[in-house]
């Protein structure tokens, strides 16, 4: 249901910008945070170890031990803050010295033997108090007369935790701010970037039937839009051309209708002016029938040209023997040609892949023209020449050369080389445009040439795939 809903490109891009910015900055922040955390732990651990090392050195001296016993407050102040813990005790006895201002419960941990140098991995990290980590290290000291003592030093990492927490907060805040800024910037940028598109849309909206000649302005448009503008303008070009042609056809058709209707109206009105003999009424009616048939034919042709169903024509194609078809055409026009003092020469080979009625109609239109304009005593030649790609059908006659400027327009509807000569009742100026339509229906080609008194129409029917 919502599949056809349109999404906003601007919004989508802004959101993507924001997400990307947040993800990128957050990842970077986390990486730096881990690095910082590791560094801080290392520093703290080193401090703990160095303290225990110092105590080791100090306590191996008996003077110092005496000092601890007599003046423990000296050592209590030594640590200087409330987070440190220090205990010195002989195994199984109450501690000689216990500095524990925060009253942290000391876990029992395995001391490092006296002959062992302390390393970072000897430091134990415990969950500690209220989620604040507690690091501690214990070592055995050989203290001469007193035997072996155990020194435990630890530290609650409140400061470190606070530093890290504030760092974390900064990372997330900064990433969020960056995301919001980028989202806004992205939104504005995309919105601005799409401005030319909206301008084009407004312009295109203004183009209608009245101003088809107008074109979209590519001035100031980004490079990415140029192909679209160009194809849109080409489409307008084609539309406006088609529109002009269509209008021309309607006008031409209206003009063509004038002649037969005028004849019908005039003749009938004159006939009704006074009483006439039955014979003259019959003559009138017969003449009316002629005009009406002309109208019906024109209608038929116009409908044929307007029909937009090439698929069915293509479906009805058959393999037709070229020799048969040219022979049939020759038979059909034999009498007409003889009347005009012409003879028909046919030659056909190959198989034409075409809809039979359309092929015959095209050939008949060409032959009718060829006879109409052929010189008496000359030959009308109809040839079908087979090639690998299809069959070329050529209809050529001898007569007046058609001036070159007319050739490209011959296949237009109602186009006539000589306005005055050809307005006979038999011709309606649609014959060749029907040929053109038929060839288009067959995905074929058509062309005409006229040189040295020989005019040749050539139709190419592509072979079956």
């Amino acid at each position: 249901m919502s599949r056809s809903r349109h999404y906003s490109l601007t919004l989508r891009l802004a959101l993507i910008f924001a997400l990307l910015a947040f993800a990128l900055l957050a990842t970077l922040g986390v990486a730096l945070y881990r690095e910082l955390e590791r560094e801080l732990i290392r520093r703290d651990d080193t401090a703990l170890i160095s303290r225990v090392d110092q105590l080791r050195n100090l306590l191996s001296d008996s003077n110092t031990l005496d000092l601890i016993k007599t003046k423990p407050e000296l050592f209590q102040n030594m640590l200087g803050n409330r987070e440190s813990v220090l205990s010195i005790a002989a195994p199984g006895q109450p501690p000689l010295l216990l500095v524990n201002p925060a009253n942290i419960e000391l876990p029992a941990i395995e001391p490092v033997p006296g002959n062992h140098v302390l390393v970072l991995s000897d430091v134990q990290h415990l969950p500690g108090l209220n989620g604040i980590p507690f690091s501690t290290v214990a070592a055995t000291i050989n203290a001469g007369d007193l035997g072996s003592l155990q020194v435990t030093s630890g530290r609650l990492m409140t400061e470190r935790t606070a530093v890290l927490a504030s760092y974390r907060l900064s990372v997330y805040t900064l990433a969020s701010i960056a995301a919001i800024i980028l989202a806004l910037a992205g939104y504005l940028l995309v919105h601005r970037g799409l401005l030319p598109l909206r301008r084009l849309a407004r312009h295109a909206q203004g183009i209608g039937v009245g101003n088809l000649a107008e074109r979209l302005d590519s001035e100031g448009a980004p490079k990415e839009l140029l192909p679209m503008i160009e194809s849109f303008n080409t489409m307008l070009e084609r539309l406006s051309k088609g529109f002009v042609q269509l209008g021309q056809v309607s006008t031409d058709m209206a003009h063509e209708l004038r002649t037969p209707i005028n004849n019908l109206l005039g003749e009938t009105q004159v006939a009704l002016q006074q009483q006439r003999s039955v014979d003259s009424y019959q003559q009138l009616l017969a003449s009316n029938v002629e005009e009406l048939e002309r109208l019906a034919r024109m209608l038929d042709n116009m409908l044929f040209l307007a029909r937009t169903d090439p698929a069915s024509a293509l479906r009805q194609r058959q393999a037709l023997d070229a020799a048969d078809e040219v022979e049939r055409i020759a038979d059909y026009f034999e009498g007409l040609a003889a009347d005009a003092g012409m003879h028909i020469v046919v030659q056909g080979k190959g198989v034409i892949w075409a809809e039979p009625m359309l092929l015959r109609r095209a050939l008949a239109n060409l032959c009718a023209n060829a006879i109409k304009y052929g010189a008496p005593g000359s030959a009308l030649s109809v040839q079908a020449i087979a090639t690998d790609e299809g069959v070329n059908v050529r209809v050529s006659n001898q007569g007046e050369t058609i001036p070159a400027e007319h050739l490209p327009r011959l296949f237009e509807r109602f186009y006539r080389v000589d306005e005055s000569r050809e307005r006979s009742s038999q011709s309606n100026g649609l014959g060749l445009s029907i040929v053109a339509t038929i060839m288009q229906l067959h995905n074929g080609r058509y062309r005409v040439s006229s040189e040295d008194g020989i005019t040749t129409f050539e139709l190419f029917f592509p072979a079956r795939d």
């Binding site: 002629e290 038979d331 059909y332 026009f333 009347d339 008949a364 011709s427 014959g431």
Partner: protein, 223 residues
């Protein structure tokens, strides 16, 4: 022949009624689809001419309902020259169709074909007055004189001889003789008929081919 014409357009209905009656057929006219269907179901007709575009009940509906009860041949008339329309008509059980405008002679020829019962027996020898046609040998003589005809001239004469007394339209002739099923802008048929006349009529007293003004030709021993 008993014909029912269902046509709502007054002028068209009238000329169909008059034209067919003048040819000697018994014709009933219905002015709309409801009346047409009623008559068609009441009376057995030999053939029905049915207009498609009608108020109240259109031709398709009439045809659909008629076909539930009777298989009277139906020729439908349509003003729409599109293939889907024609196919629809034939699928509903119509037997033939004509697209308006059509020639009256064409309509008559189609009606005859629709009502012809049984297969047509091809005559091997035809005799019209003193004209003799040997169909198999394609030999034509008139008053004992051998007449040489081209293939198409023979086909044309054969068409005429097998449709005596009937008016044949130019488009019907073009389609039967040359298999050209479209109205061409040429007067090929007139020329062919003239050339045939030159051979079989001109040298003789009794003329067999008659022009019917505005319609076509008739082959008849009567003028």
């Amino acid at each position: 022949m008993n014909i029912l014409v269902v046509e709502d357009e007054p002028k068209a209905g009238n000329y169909l009624l008059n034209g067919l009656q003048e040819l000697g057929y018994s014709v009933s006219l219905a002015r709309d689809g409801v009346d047409g269907l009623h008559q068609a179901l009441e009376t057995p007709f030999d053939v029905i001419v049915l207009d498609v575009m009608m108020p109240k009940m259109d031709g398709w509906e009439v045809l659909r309902r008629l076909r539930r009860e009777a298989d009277t041949p139906v020729l439908f008339l349509t003003a729409r020259d599109d293939i889907a329309d024609r196919i629809k008509g034939l699928e509903l059980g119509a037997d033939d169709y004509l697209i308006k405008p059509f020639s009256f002679a064409e309509l008559v020829a189609r009606l005859r074909t629709l009502t012809r019962r049984g297969p047509i027996r091809e005559e091997e020898h035809l005799q019209i007055a003193d004209l003799q046609i040997d169909v198999l040998k394609r030999r034509v003589t008139r008053a004992g004189t051998r007449i040489t005809l081209t293939n198409k001239e023979f086909a044309l004469l054969h068409l005429f001889a097998t449709h005596q007394d009937q008016v044949l339209s130019r488009s019907l002739i073009a389609s039967r003789v040359w298999d050209m099923n479209f109205d061409s802008d040429t007067n090929v048929v007139d020329v062919a008929v003239r050339r045939l006349r030159l051979k079989i009529d001109d040298p003789f007293q009794l003329k067999l081919i008659h022009s019917v003004r505005g319609i076509g030709y008739r082959f008849d021993t009567q003028p």
